[in-house]
Amino acid sequence: MPIDLGRVQKEIRDIDRDKASGVTIEVQGNSVQKLIGCLKGPRDTPFDGGIFYVNIELDDQYPFVPPKMRFITKVWHPNISSANGAICLDILKDQWSPALTLKTALLSLQALLSSPQPDDPQDAVVARQYMGSLAEYEATARQWTQTYAHAQQVVGLEAKVQQIVEMGFGREQALAALKRANGDENGAMEILLGA
């Protein structure tokens, strides 16, 4: 059975309507099965002020199987891989329920940013730092937020995306390449031309 388009579109509309939630979602290209989610770093955490992008892929069987989510923006967090953005969150795995939505999943990610679970780390290095020296962890996380997720960075990023798009690349392609190159325009171009 192909993906339930009606439901996904309803979900997207619902997120768009609820401006207060702090999460947004955007379709990548023509298919609703590839999306980019966006969430604000929670207040009173090292992620405050950051804007975090999440790559979302929906399987044909969605919502009966969980959406595949991965942070595009680099994050320093025990449950998120600092290398590839992989997320360790139970509702994205065996605790997923078809009655959950992309919005609830994104909100759960936001909640995960506020309350790390270092006992089951995705990134052992971060977890060790979190357990050993909280202050150091918070400093690193804040610095990463500043470097990779800060609003100004993101605004700057938008300009770079536009530049690359003008060179004839797709928007999502440009965004992904820029994320991989940590915002470096030349690096992103190299990635795009190399690929």
């Binding site: 009606g6 969150l89 078809p98 089951d120």
Partner: protein, 614 residues
Amino acid sequence: MAGSDDDQWFDDYDEPMSGGEDEDAYPSDSGAGGSDSGGTSTTDDAADDGFEERGPSEARSQLRNRLYSVIDRQNLRRIQEEALQQVQSILGCSTTTARALLIFFSWDAEAVLGTIAERGQEDVYKRAGLLSQSEEAEAYAAAAAAGAGGTVSCLVCMSDVGPSQATAMDCGHMFCNDCWREHMRINISEGMSRRLRCMAPGCGVVCDEDKVKALLRKDKPLLEKYEQTLLESYVDDNKRVKWCPSVPHCGHAIRSKEMHCEVECACGHQFCFACCEVQHSPCTCDMLHDWEQRMRDGSETSSWLSANTKLCPKCSKPVEKNGGCNLVLCRCGQAFCWLCGQATGRAHTWTSIEGHSCGAYKEEAEARANEAQRNLKRYLHYLTRYEANLQSGKLEAKLRKDVEAKVDALMEVDPSMSNFSWLNEALAQLFLARKCMAYSYIFAFYMFGQSMFKEDFSAEANAINQALFEDKQGQLEAEVEKLSQLIENPWPIGSAADMQSHRMAIINLAANIDTRIQKMYEVIECDITPQVASRGVGIAPYKGRHATGSGGEAAAEVYRRAAAAGGGAGPSGSNQPSSDVPDPAAEEGGRGGRRGKAPIAAGSGGRSKRKAGS
């Protein structure tokens, strides 16, 4: 008459294929004759558990040491229903509930009832997914039903449907039928039939079987798959029952009381119950697994598997990590850590896997790299010996042929020689000893290698253990080589006296070898494994050749031939017994021969019996 204990062993040995014409082929437990050995199995376990033992012959299934029994397709359903009824009759619950409880407790009905008595019904029901864990279930249902004009709003497809097109599970969560069906279709086709749960977040209540069947009634193949998986759950979710790994699959399952036990299915396939591989005592399953991995190194499939999968600590199937974090959930329901492969327990989620750390591996791996050279040499040493013994075992067929030729020649010279059970015993013992020797080298490779058991022994203790073991192994090897020579070298066929002493030498050596193997196992079981008991080293015990060994069958064939020839058909040995028309003369001759050989054979038979029973 011939129902004495000693005869029991010969009967099994001599006439496994006699088709049950002869009463003696059915030894009884009591030794009081064959009267109670008719249609039904009379072993205690079988009676208790309601399992029937089936096998090519009743005699053989009796000999299965009563540690395990064979379940076939027909009685699988019956056995499962008995277990369900046992739980249902005591708890007064539905079949769905009983099944969910039994699956949760790996089909251990006593554990179900015991835990309920101990911790209370509610707690157990909750853990087994029978009570909703989301407390707003009722409110949820009410909200769903509150759609305008009596419609139900399904929170999965987010559309409104009429009440007749929606179903609520026992927990009260209501969704539309199409969504339920899709949810079930995906889960059933992924092999999750026995864990069909409610779709509401955090609920986890098992879907009622009748409701599932009603929803799926139009999709026959899916419904069948659902029912089949539920049926097979008795084997799949049961630690004490395993499918026979024969290819093509014979449809049988084995139920064993002991995890580490070498079993033989009704189809004749012999395997290790714990790992379903070839029988490999005295080395452990881990050792065999690692060993075979080494031997297969270079094969592309295995290198992909070793690079990309980990074996589930519960069901030992390779699991591929398809994304996400290092807490991996196997299809069998076992959660484990991807880094170290250790089980972390089902209840664990990302919120509660406390205390699980596994950083020690890398340092150890580096230290090991320095020893690679030494290890390779050591490995080759054991590999050569392992292969040599396995190779000799593989030459069984040839040896058997040679021995048949000798038997023919001997009977031509001396037609009075009609009983060759001593020879069968010796051959079977030889083949069994070869197999034992082969695997004992794997055992030694790992046990004394200071890698797999590095933390368990000091270097001194290890040296002592190794010396003890190698002493016993060496003695066994010497005897095995001697016996091998005696059987293979030309026999003194011309002289009756010489032949007699040759025969005695073979009989004695075979008996010696049996004792040597036991001594070797004594060292393993009494001296070595107790030191690593905390590691749960499981080694199937030595049962003597009566309980195991294809050698037994191979030799039995030689004997049948000889018995038939000697008993009635003249000295040429060319007259084969017909399988469908048993020749009474031949059987009579065989039995007469058994009585005739009394002193020596009875002695050795008695000894074998003791071992086999131990």
